[in-house]
Subunit: 337 residues, 2 copies
């Protein structure tokens, strides 16, 4: 368990420790020949900088924290990738924590990141923790919120515009000539669900069409969607909507199963179907399913940009709330009649 320090490197290279440090951190200040000599000493000894000592003296860490609500969720996985990729270009590494929607775990990670004196934190918060964020700020740790539209302009945030997404989906269905559109989602008090519904409603009204029929489901899962699909399939055909917009893809895939299996209904001929999120399975469904894509990687990149910008800025930084627009992905489930 040998430990090689800058001192050892300095000895071997025949320079002072200050020079070694400069080679590591400000190579331009050092004569090229010296850089070479020090570099090869580093290589020969297998020197690896001790991050703890470096950070202690320099005061600033090379890492930022990221706390996600659910690391298994592809949305967050993609977001993390986007954030990491951008951070990497800035020589910053990302420590990822998974709160799993638990406030306690969220707290634990924030504590950890605070001890580590990270440069900043990207957070998809479990609940409202403004006090905690203010404490972090008073310690010089910037925080950018992800995936929640905060009207709190005291913090920067990034979010996807769910209302616009709902509008996009409904407009697409309207353009196909569909007139009786149903919305499947729930519970309705969840912000994402109600926003997506609101967007759809707005689009329908703008087109002079009646409000969507709201089919509330107990959860955003495939079985819940399948149950609703089967209920629809059992209806008198004259009572059927001619298009269904589901609040996420799991529901959409479920509805598709319910509509198609052991019935005479066809998608999209009888009912057009569009989901939300564009998960990998949407493309491989029985009938490839149209969806709304959120560009999570972009979101992650933008969030990281804001974070690094803020952490480098002086006091009095003007915080920004970035809202990104989702886009429409058209597949067979909404094509042709």
């Amino acid at each position: 368990m040998v430990s090689v320090s800058v001192k050892d490197v300095a000895n071997l290279a025949g320079v002072s420790v200050g020079t070694v440090s400069n080679v590591l951190n400000h190579p331009a200040r050092v004569a090229p020949a010296t850089v070479d000599r020090v570099s090869s000493a580093i290589a020969k000894l297998g020197f690896v900088r001790n991050a703890a000592a470096s950070q202690l003296r320099a005061g600033l860490s090379r890492s930022v924290g990221l706390v996600v609500l659910d690391s298994a969720n592809p949305f967050f996985a993609e977001l993390a990738r986007g954030a990491e990729d951008y951070a990497a270009t800035q020589g910053v590494s990302v420590l990822v924590g998974n709160s799993g929607e638990s406030s306690a775990r969220e707290e634990t990670y924030l504590d950890l990141f605070e001890e580590q004196r990270v440069r900043g934190i990207l957070l998809s918060p479990v609940g409202d923790i403004t006090p905690r964020l203010e404490r972090l700020r008073s310690r010089g740790i910037a925080t950018v919120l992800v995936d929640r539209h905060t009207h709190n302009t005291a913090f920067s945030s990034v979010a996807v515009d769910d209302i616009a997404g709902g509008k996009l989906a409904a407009e697409h269905l309207i353009q196909l000539g569909r007139k009786r559109i149903a919305f499947v989602g729930g519970p309705l008090h969840i912000r994402q669900v109600s926003d997506r519904l609101e967007g759809a409603r707005t689009a329908l009204r703008a087109a002079g069409l009646p409000d969507p029929e709201i089919l509330e489901v107990p959860s955003m899962s495939l079985p819940a969607g399948r149950d609703m699909g089967q209920k629809l399939a059992a209806r008198d055909p004259r009572e059927l909507p001619d298009a269904v917009f589901t609040a996420n893809d799991m529901l959409g895939l479920g509805v598709m199963q319910g509509l198609l299996v052991n019935t005479r209904l066809r998608v999209p001929e009888d009912i057009a179907l569009i989901g939300y999120d564009d998960i990998a399975f949407a493309e491989s469904a029985l009938v490839p399913m149209s969806s709304i894509r959120q560009h999570a990687a972009d979101l992650g990149r933008q969030a990281m940009e804001l974070l690094l910008e803020e952490s480098a800025a002086a006091d009095g930084y003007t915080h920004r709330q970035v809202v990104t627009l989702p886009s429409l992905v058209v597949r067979a489930s909404t094509q042709g009649r």
Copy 2:
């Protein structure tokens, strides 16, 4: 950006810095009344230990690194959760890095962890990097390998026994009375694929049945499975297998689609179907699909146990290769005829 140090806490509590440190790290050595006084000073000042300083002096970090091949893959997500949960009980935090199968990114994370002087590293390696592991060890950083059966007894490892999994699947099919079993998977040079096939073959031979028909596919994806399913459905019924075992669930779901959509075939009546991995969608498939579950969280927990044990042990630690057995999950796709 105020910074509170042990010194400030010591002043307020009217004790020395050494005592504050003892309250933080060895409370039993300090009189209860003093612990209280120091604790309330900590609370009042909002003191948070500087991890860099602590680690620099104490020499050992409270974190371990985890590098996974693909953080979006549910197997690794679950594994990470298991590892983190156990680590948390030991007061250790986990830094997760995603190599995305890229050697370069893997290297970057190992460098980072080495700088951080983590206690140990849990690694699902991209390629063979024994030299790198030996360098880490010479620095006192233990490494446990995940998800690859190393015959290299110089390192501890955990892995799932894919041969046993294949055997489990085939034995289940045999017990159902199926006699003509096909295997769908590929490319065959992938270890997981060939192991699962080998397990199936072993079970068939033991039962006195012919070797499985091998249906090689170009990738382990749903569309590849669907193509194969459609090819099967187009066969003369007398040429059909009476059971199909796929090397993973994506293929299984695809085969199911290909077999069922626009054909007269039924699952399981005509063809029983079993997948591998037990992903969330297996349960929600058209016909809920039987599968082999790998217990990734357990695997993660065991790997972390090994890692912490080794990192706490003296030199000459005896490394262990743990192989866990997967289990059978029976659903509708293999029940009834």
